[in-house]
């Protein structure tokens, strides 16, 4: 657009560069020496064009990239022609008519606005007369026109850019390019997210009912009692000859009363052909009701179920100023079970619903919501608690400053690893034996798990120490070559085991994606053995030749492993963990606790380890200098320093966990979210509003409390 803004000194090369960019966007810039700029323009051009065409194709009912591309380029050329026309007009105006700068700026903006309006008009007319083809109608959306129009601006800008760079070896501003790219992405984004403002405005009223209930649901929080006055009279039906039915009521002083005459009659009958025969007409007289109010007549069948009689007379009766009324009613049709033979006693009920009384009793919904809220808070608490227990030790393993100086020799690691594995297997066997003695895992799961844990940790550790010590001692006593070969051999074993696992993983995990399962399974042995062989040989050579006596920074290896695992666990959303938890232990708060605990361990582990990494190293050095061992250094130099940030992070995490647990409830993790999603699905928006309010109150109270506590510790 700005190609000819200023007269150029050196015309010929500038036009050449412009022409190059006209053919291929960015080419002129690249040849003029601005290679990065040129390639950037080219890439932007490709990406934006692709995105535009793709979007247009997506929104069509029959996605066809070729068709969309054709249409896009046609519209683009139209826009470009319009733009070129405007640029020429501007050039001529500036050259011959308008000489003062403010006038030129005015024309420029005028033309920009003209361009925008023209595009809007074109888009509108295209939309209304998009030809006869249904496909064309779908593709010829206003988005096509808008994006093609912006695209034309970008195109002309980069031509002018190339020309100017070629002419003066000076870099013009990227402003118009960035602006048009942003605008284009905005237009595409508007289309892709299917934003429809007119619809939002037209259909806003539909939300009013829901919104009103959600915003002020407090009436549902308490119980309302309906105080009603009832008077009853008994009527017999059917009425065989000679029977007179139950005795008539007498007026009672001080109470509402009704008298029904006669007290014996026939029911209305609706025959199969739809013919209605009304029953015996009753006269109902009543007194001692509230003057000026209305009463309602209900009919109670012999089983005791009341219903509104229909088609047999008025059922809403006004009361006169004396508190009395008289009305007529035919005995309605009442379904009597086939087994009921003979006369039955029905009841006429007159009910005066007078007042609705507010009580301080909580409604059922409110109680449910409160229980759910409590469950949610506790869920967050428990997840935080378990998270701390696991995150604290892990965080020490994931702190670079503590781990970086832990070194070990190959022989110590080899012996340690082998005997540690042996210890683990032994622990497994012993646990199995104890388990069968105690009656199996299902009998005493916790006891056996505890024994297993202690055995695994203890024997694993013992094996590690014994193995490291054993191989190191051997290295001192035995002939050097012997211990060297032995160590290298054992190290190669470990390497081979690792390689075997990697091979299996490659075969099952990666190849299985491409190949059918059976084919992958056929060859998985070969991959595993290949992996084992390669890593075994590499480990042997490494241990034997390269780094036999040297130290391995085992601490950094552990650090890297723990960090990686924590990063992966943290990267997976708690919602996904909740799904795992639900499959594991079924829906409910326990599943939510598992999900949050896993995520909390990783998140807190990272925060903790980072605060350990930022401590003052001086006290550590001082404690080491006094002869304290690693444990003592941690207790006396690290913990006092990291306690305040640990407490602060923990409370912060608790806060987060309570918020998250409401969301986790939505997918079945228990707590208030669980109740909330059910109410939403049952369209009980008032109850849902209660839950939302409780969540909002709890979270803000918690937010305040946690920030107050944290302020005190930092």
């Amino acid at each position: 657009m700005d190609a000819n803004q200023e007269p150029t000194v050196n015309r010929r090369p500038s036009l050449l560069y412009g022409a190059l960019s006209l053919v291929l966007p960015g080419l002129g810039q690249a040849i003029a020496g601005q290679f990065r700029r040129g390639s950037g323009i080219f890439l932007t051009f490709i990406v934006l064009a692709g995105l535009s065409i793709w979007t247009v194709a997506q929104r069509a009912r029959f996605p066809d990239l070729t068709l969309s591309a054709q249409i896009f380029w046609i519209v683009f050329l139209e826009c470009a022609a319009l733009l070129l026309f405007l640029i020429c007009i501007r050039y001529l105006l500036n050259r011959f008519l308008i000489k003062d700068v403010s006038g030129q700026v005015f024309t420029q903006w005028g033309l920009i606005i003209f361009y925008a309006v023209a595009i809007f008009l074109i888009a509108d007319s295209l939309l209304s007369n998009a030809g006869t083809s249904e496909e064309l109608q779908q593709v010829y959306e206003s988005t096509t026109v808008f994006s093609a129009a912006i695209f034309a601006v970008f195109w002309f800008w980069q031509i002018g850019d190339a020309a100017r760079i070629g002419a003066r070896q000076e870099i013009p501003s990227m402003g118009p390019a960035i602006a048009s790219a942003c605008l284009l992405i905005f237009v595409l984004g508007w289309n892709i997210t299917q934003i429809d403002l007119p619809k939002a405005i037209e259909e806003y009223r539909d939300t009013q009912v829901i919104l009103r209930q959600l915003i002020w649901p407090w009436e549902a929080a308490f119980e309302f009692e309906v105080v009603s006055v009832e008077a009853t009279a008994r009527v017999q039906a059917p009425c065989p000859e000679g029977e007179i039915g139950p005795p008539e009521n007498e007026p009672i002083a001080g109470e509402s009363w009704i008298i029904v005459t006669p007290t014996c009659g026939e029911l209305s009958v609706l025959s199969l052909s739809g013919e209605f025969t009304p029953g015996t007409e009753l006269t109902i007289t009543g007194g001692n009701f509230t003057p000026g109010s209305e009463v309602e007549i209900f009919w109670k069948n012999p089983i005791g179920n009341p219903f509104r009689p229909r088609g047999v007379g008025e059922t809403i009766i006004p009361i006169d100023e004396n508190g009395e009324f008289v009305t007529n009613l035919n005995i309605p049709q009442a379904l009597i079970p086939d087994t009921a033979v003979g006369a039955q006693i029905h009841t006429v009920v007159i009910r005066e619903e007078s007042t609705v009384v507010f009580t301080w009793r909580l409604s059922r919904e409110m109680k449910l919501a409160l229980v759910g809220m409590l469950e949610t808070i506790m869920l967050g608490l428990m997840a935080t608690f378990f998270g701390i227990i696991f995150a604290v030790p892990l965080s020490f393993l994931a702190a670079r400053n503590l781990m970086s100086n832990i070194v070990s020799t190959i022989s110590a690691i080899t012996g340690g690893l082998l005997l540690a594995v042996a210890g683990l297997i032994l622990a497994g066997l012993i646990t199995g034996q104890i388990s069968s003695l105690l009656g199996g895992l299902s009998e005493n799961p916790i006891l056996i798990a505890l024994i297993g844990l202690v055995l695994v940790l203890g024997l694993g550790y013992l094996g590690w120490r014994l193995g490291s010590w054993g191989l190191a001692t051997l290295g001192e006593r035995a002939p050097a070559i012997l211990s060297r070969i032995l160590t290298a051999f054992l190290f190669a074993l470990i390497g081979a085991a690792f390689g075997y696992a990697l091979g299996l993983f490659f075969s099952r995990g990666i190849r299985a994606i491409i190949l059918p399962d059976e084919v992958a399974a056929l060859t998985e042995d070969r991959y595993a053995i290949f992996g084992a062989g390669v890593l075994g040989v590499i480990s042997f050579i490494y241990a034997y030749r390269i780094n036999f006596d040297g130290e391995i920074r085992i601490g950094m290896i552990i650090y890297a492993i723990v960090r990686t695992i924590m990063n992966i666990v943290r990267a997976i959303e708690p919602l996904i963990w909740a799904l795992v938890g639900i499959i594991w232990v079924g829906p409910g708060p326990f599943a939510g606790t598992i999900a949050l605990t896993l995520h909390t361990i990783a998140a807190l582990g990272k925060l903790y380890s980072e605060s350990i990494e930022s401590i003052d190293p001086g006290p550590l050095e001082a404690i080491q200098a006094t002869g304290g061992n690693r444990l003592q250094t941690i207790i006396y130099a690290v913990i006092p320093q990291v306690l305040p940030p640990f407490i602060s992070f923990t409370i912060y995490r608790w806060d987060i966990n309570v918020r998250l647990s409401t969301v986790i409830g939505l997918v079945g993790g228990g707590g208030i979210g669980f109740i909330l999603i059910q109410w939403i699905r049952q369209f009980e928006y008032e109850a849902a509003g209660l839950a939302v309010w409780l969540i909002a109150i709890t979270v803000s109270v918690l937010d305040y409390v946690s920030s107050e506590i944290r302020e005190r510790f930092v």
Binding site: P619, E621, A625, Q632, Y636, P640, Q641
Partner: protein, 254 residues
């Protein structure tokens, strides 16, 4: 007797901090190491108790080879060598008492530390150490409530708790004003003379060196460029002085 033979330290990043340093320290000496910052004083002191692992060379102390010691032996050697730091290296949030007691960790079973337990006589000894450095009334205060001079006294008390046979002091007065410097070095001198304890101390100021040292070693770029007693330091010519401190150095003190 501490013997250092051909000590060389090259850090992982390739910095050559010490080159072939050899000297001997007799028991009861007050040895001062002088040199510009970056000359290798701190590295030298930290190599003696292996807070920094020497790259090459041998350090023997009373017949024990410190450089060859394994972890548990090293801890036993370390608890007999007290150390005082330029920035005191106290745990600021812990009480003075806990900081002093932590000097006793080398003698305390590690499992006791899990419940913060010390022997009763260690607590008595800690009070005595605080009395000896003159701040018994600060025992219950948090370490960061104390002034710089007081914090360094806590550092000395912590070192005394080790019942050391040698004290390494890494620029113990560099963060303090001159009056406090004299008071802290006076403390060290008293310990040196009363207990006949070996003190190896790195210092910046020449007048402090002249006042307290019984022997002096000058380091420049990790090489020993000067060795003598305090008399020699007094008679140091400007040329020798510049050899230690570099061309741009000016003589400040006495």
């Amino acid at each position: 007797m501490l013997q250092i033979e051909n000590l060389t330290k090259i850090y992982d990043d390739g910095t050559q901090a010490l080159t072939d340093v050899s000297f001997t320290v007799e028991e009861g000496e007050f040895l001062v190491v002088i040199g510009l910052s970056g000359s290798g004083k701190s590295t030298l002191l930290r190599c003696i108790n292996r807070l920094v692992e020497p790259t090459e060379g041998r350090i023997t102390w009373n017949g024990r080879d410190i450089t060859a010691a394994d972890q548990s032996e090293l801890r036993e050697i370390r608890r007999e060598i007290g150390m005082i730091f330029q920035h005191f290296n106290l745990v600021k949030r812990s009480t003075v008492m806990t900081n002093v007691l932590s000097g006793r960790l080398g003698y305390t079973p590690p499992a006791w530390s899990l419940i913060n337990r010390f022997r009763k006589e260690d607590r008595v000894r800690a009070m005595q150490a605080l009395e000896r450095v003159g701040i018994p009334d600060k025992a219950g205060n948090r370490a960061d409530e104390l002034s710089g001079g007081q914090q360094q006294r806590v550092g000395i008390a912590r070192a005394l708790m080790q019942e050391p046979k040698m004290i390494l002091a890494d620029e113990p007065v560099a963060s303090l004003d001159p009056v406090l410097a004299h008071s802290i070095l006076g403390n060290l001198e008293r310990i040196n003379q009363e207990d006949n304890m070996t003190v190896i101390c790195s210092l910046h100021f020449l007048d402090l060196v002249q006042r307290y040292a019984s022997r002096v070693i000058g380091l420049r770029d990790g090489v020993i460029v000067f060795e003598g007693d305090s008399q020699d330091i007094r008679q140091l010519s400007d040329e020798r002085f510049k050899e230690i401190y570099g061309e741009e150095a000016e003589r400040l003190g006495g």
